[in-house]
Symmetry: C2
Subunit: 599 residues, 2 copies
Amino acid sequence: MSTIVNRRDLDFLLYEALGIDELLANPRYSDYDRESITAIFDLSQTLAEEQFQPFAGYLDQNEPQYVDGKVQMIPEVKEALNAYREAGLFATGYDADLGGMQLPWVVHQSISAIFTTANTSVSNYVFLTQGAANLLNACGSQELKDKYLPKMVSGDWFGTMCLSEPHAGSSLADIRSKATPQADGSYKITGTKMWISGGDHEITDNIVHMVLAKVPDSPAGVKGISLFLVPKNRVDDNGDIIGSNNIALAGLNHKMGHKGTTNCLLNFGESGDTIGHLVGNVNEGLANMFHMMNEARIAVGMGATVIGLGGYLYSLDYARNRPQGRHLGNKDPESPMVMISEHADVKRMLMTQKAFVEGAQALLMYSAILLDRQQLADSEDERVKANLLLELLTPICKSWPSEFCLEANKLAIQVLGGYGYTVEYPVERYYRDNRLNHIHEGTHAIHGLDILGRKVRIANGAALHALRDEIMETITDCAQDASLQAHCQQLGDALKTVQLTLDAVSKCPDPSLALANATLFLDAMGHVVIAWMWLQQAKAAQLGLANGEGHDAAFYQGKLAACRFFYRYELPKAIEKFDLVASLDDTCFNLSAEQFVGI
Amino acid sequence: MSTIVNRRDLDFLLYEALGIDELLANPRYSDYDRESITAIFDLSQTLAEEQFQPFAGYLDQNEPQYVDGKVQMIPEVKEALNAYREAGLFATGYDADLGGMQLPWVVHQSISAIFTTANTSVSNYVFLTQGAANLLNACGSQELKDKYLPKMVSGDWFGTMCLSEPHAGSSLADIRSKATPQADGSYKITGTKMWISGGDHEITDNIVHMVLAKVPDSPAGVKGISLFLVPKNRVDDNGDIIGSNNIALAGLNHKMGHKGTTNCLLNFGESGDTIGHLVGNVNEGLANMFHMMNEARIAVGMGATVIGLGGYLYSLDYARNRPQGRHLGNKDPESPMVMISEHADVKRMLMTQKAFVEGAQALLMYSAILLDRQQLADSEDERVKANLLLELLTPICKSWPSEFCLEANKLAIQVLGGYGYTVEYPVERYYRDNRLNHIHEGTHAIHGLDILGRKVRIANGAALHALRDEIMETITDCAQDASLQAHCQQLGDALKTVQLTLDAVSKCPDPSLALANATLFLDAMGHVVIAWMWLQQAKAAQLGLANGEGHDAAFYQGKLAACRFFYRYELPKAIEKFDLVASLDDTCFNLSAEQFVGI
């Protein structure tokens, strides 16, 4: 079996559970049908298995180094990305007018995910470039787009996002980088940017940085931040490189995971002028950046999910092939050992991984379809609804897999035992890689504040209403199926608990206390949404089971079991968290810094 | 503040919460009082901070390498262990008749723990040596003890435990290493041992391996395993080294954490004869090994706990010194940033760490005191009771910190944000180091089977009765304190739930199904025991608060808050797990291997 993608499940989610056919019927995607999409998946899987997966562990153990102001890395990275480019796969993320393949976003995302599982560190360069290109495309002037976008779309030049600074990570209001206007309309950029993934390397001839900085006399805080395009190398009007733009690589951060992706400290304008170009209007930089945030955050969540998937598939394959011990009650030491997949606790650990990973994958694909629907909407109402759902689901998409697919990775190690703890097997690397996802693109806490402090209330609660309507529709659809009725009841009750929780929070006179347990709310809402995803999958599995035979029947039975597992073992945890949020518990909130250890 | 030990809390646990005075009153410990113990802690903390902590990160990044059949490692390891030996600290773990300091076990364990937090990889060598020495002392012949023990007690020679083989990790019944009797009473040892921590190095002149192997015609399975002392270098009757014993280092396992501790694949008797000496009787090897298991497993749990402590203290110190963002509601971007310890979610993450780490530390110290009591018991009844409590608590001592102090380490990273994900800060190393503790000295699943399948039933449930009596005594003691009554009620109810759960499990006709969710039972029982530990701490804090002022008052208030936190946020999770165990849920148990992914 492949250990980077479960093609049966991918098809199940696309065509049976989430209904991608509806998208494919749209003229925008008239070039594609199930057959042609399968062919792209085939190509992607082969390339990922042959050119990305084999050196993922080697890259992790031989991370890029800072040598004389430059990045040195193993040549396999560039070779893999060249193969990716030559296969035309950079084009999956763009529309035809940019020279892209104009695929449904959900298909593009699923393709990218195969490479992320195979070699997260390498696929990051692609993802970062596409993010920067989409931001430029959405907000840049035609002149800038003409000059930079084609090279980014083709993958000849890579891109980055430069937000954080050493003293300002989560608190972007406090960035200090400056942009000083020049007579020709460009800006001189000065300052230091921290945590810049892909911030420097020798893979491509140029790197296009999208940089937040402040122009003189701009307002304090986030209202005074502007966005600039700042290339590593300057480019003339023909698009040719004409020399360095004086961005100095001040150092590489060496991290627990994602080791193959350079993470840089960059100094702008220290050793000579660094020239940047305004993207969008002055002081609208953060707002422009956030245009692309839903996509970026959903991509982070998808990354967390499929790193979880990698661990799940690898540990499943291992468990089915590793003999160890005997069934409980078999006291005959001369009887043959059984495969560890026969042991109850190994099954529990595999099932937990399956429930988390396949639940998250459904959510991320559903959300990608919402991005597609937003674009295809026939009416403004439809577009607004897709948008509201996305706004509400984005913090969950980003955060829930970061927490629970990391937990899946922890269990994957445990299935392998001592072997899982060694670098000879990929599961410990997955665990290290996945630990990043709580932190970047907004920390877990920030998404908690976002959902409980803002998203549940936007448009007078319309986003929450839209989500509730969608979930109720699934409940109604399933209520006729006797085997799903208990789940329907439980999910309906959970929705009521959400409302009671929000009512209680809204009555709290102290807005800080109201949000004190926002992270718990975020996790709990995630559980409700994932339970909904499992109900949808169970419904589709019941349908499939009516016709499924052999392996297919086993596949569908596994889906139904995972749904039962999630409702039995996981959803009750959400109810407890809602209870804590609703109680406005102040145990932690009231603690003073010296009470922790008495000094 | 120290980031490796909280001396105020150590004293609180020893003298206020757990009552070590009672031990010190015993003539066995007449050399010690609070003052002299404080002096040993002072010495240990200084040595650990000056000689162990500074290179822990460097060692992690420069792990031992296999070069021409030998281990190469940075010299700091040997230097630190020399300093430890010269300070006389190897002696903390032994009785006076062996040349040791004859300290209460709980004090010895607390001293060792300081070094574990400072530099886990280095302290492992000490811990392994003491385990091997204690095993030899308990089970070896006088001749063997005379020859090997003094050098191990002094720390001149190190020791290991050699149980696992490449094909047999958890399943020791299936080991294949052979011991062939020789005319002189010794044995030729052949076979391959895997995962041998400290299995080879050049730190000491000799390494004393305690090896499980099978003599010819021994019964199949665990009943045919014998224990042998097998030195790296042969020793003459004067105790002098006379040449190699032909144990070949076949390779080093490179691991996610504990990188400074060599982990070896060893071949015995391949390049020449490897001579071993029987320890205890033939075929009683596993039973003998298990004599020392309670101690070893409690030590593993203590290790997991104080790795958690290291993350907690470091992230607390960081949070109180890192400015970032402003209070919610403060919209003025020109106001100064606040320390992140002011943010509600950071407080929650710090509190979670505190509740887990200080709860586990109380349990591990209580269990160490039980080891002491077992030895000091005035009556057989007392001894039996201490032993029963230890038998029942050992799987929890080993497993609960492995799970929940790992979670604490995850949160420590989160408090530091992006910085926490880099190797410049120790918190990601703690997270990697701690991940081992689920796996070695019996996996999490094995301890689940141990507690639910065996320990709750031993001596007709007497261990469980003894635990219940102890907990009820604390509840009775606290019931007069109005501020603790709700906790008493909740803990009493939890005890009832334990009994109902066991009643349900005992009625299950299928013993395999009965144990299918044993791991959940293990985690839940741990929560009950830790809740008990927090009630004891709360009681002591109330007492202290009556007299405490200033910093002391803050310390006690923090303890009370952590107790409230554990009862409010954590204990309810145990009730849910008991419910799942009692329901004999078979969702995972009935799953077939092909249902996971349909192939």
